[in-house]
Subunit: 207 residues, 2 copies
């Protein structure tokens, strides 16, 4: 399957389809029409058909979508059938919240290490992982084949740490620091800028 031409707008929506299909599957629903899915998700049926057609049109006229198949297919497209090795950098509240999130592991995202510069946090156990000092980060990434780094450190140190990560061969950064990271084009950055989200909320209240 050629995913190259799938727009980022569709990709933005895929995880939501994945969530609804997972819930339907858990409830024992085996097939669903685009119209039913439309009512559930508050999206037009034509949008659903257009989006899902990108992936080979799993729906059949008069039958609808096979929930389990579509769930699995979208999971594969999202890369959730593969395992990823993560390190969390920053063991503050946010780093701990993410490290404690069992669902990530269930989707194949395994937290291999947690790092912090604060000596009071080093040695602390978060689920099964001990917080390590930052000076062990580079060798840890190289020795453990880590592919994703989660950055939950202040913006002041994030750019420097990102450079180190790139030098160690990290291929993707999940960035919670409120700064744009300068990385080479082949390194993926997914930003979660919480204060920007709060500003959009604020704007929409005002409007």
């Amino acid at each position: 399957m050629d995913n190259i031409n799938i727009s980022q707008a569709v990709i933005q929506r895929l995880p939501r389809y994945y969530r609804y299909l997972g819930e339907l599957n858990d409830e024992g629903v085996s097939r669903i029409s685009s119209r039913e899915l439309s009512e559930l998700m508050h999206v037009t049926a034509s949008q659903i058909r257009a989006d899902l057609n990108h992936f080979g049109g799993f729906g059949q006229v008069g039958y609808g979508y096979n929930v389990r198949n579509l769930y699995d297919e979208i999971g594969k497209i999202l890369g959730l059938d593969e395992n990823h090795k993560l390190v969390v950098i920053g063991a503050g509240h946010l780093g701990q919240a993410l490290s404690n999130y069992v669902n990530f592991e269930r989707r194949g995202f395994h937290i291999m290490g947690i790092f912090d510069i604060d000596p009071d946090l080093v040695g602390k156990k978060i689920r099964d992982v001990y917080v390590s000092p930052m000076n062990e980060l580079e060798s840890f990434i190289r020795n453990n084949d880590v592919d994703i780094a989660v950055l939950t450190i202040p913006k002041t140190s994030a750019v420097e740490v990102a450079k180190t990560l790139v030098n160690c061969g990290i291929k993707a950064i999940w960035n919670f620091a409120h700064v744009d990271l300068p990385v080479p084009y082949d390194v993926i950055v997914e930003n979660v800028h919480l204060s920007e989200s709060l500003m959009r909320l604020s704007y929409n209240i005002k409007r």
Copy 2:
């Protein structure tokens, strides 16, 4: 100023302009051309001009943008010149991380109360606020004129709590629970679905 026709796409980008202009202002830069801003933000100059034109075109030919003015204007558009009263519901790691975020307060978002059902968390002090039991939530919201609720509770209880919030007159929910909240049209929901963000990262690695 009539903001009705500003697209959500522009709104999505405004907080990032706000961040860059704030940093420029902190660095003592008083004016900047769209070309310079373009190089800094890695956005085309024409995009910048088009976006900022929505707000009355603060740029002047041969002068560029007045950094401080533009920063203040965008802040006003985003509603950051107003004060908001928040409650955080869920005092787990994520709730604590958000409650500890000093920058929110600096932007006018004041955390008035934090609530949790866990008796072990009730009474705990997070910055200046004590965690209260959930049964005090409704009267607290009504008595303190709270307008924003931050939901950092599991999806299983989020829908029920959201209904309560709407009944108490909450006008906006910053929702971290991985579920779509059924609220009336005049209640704003801004979702932060972390697992969906991680899935997009995963997709882009695979691609």
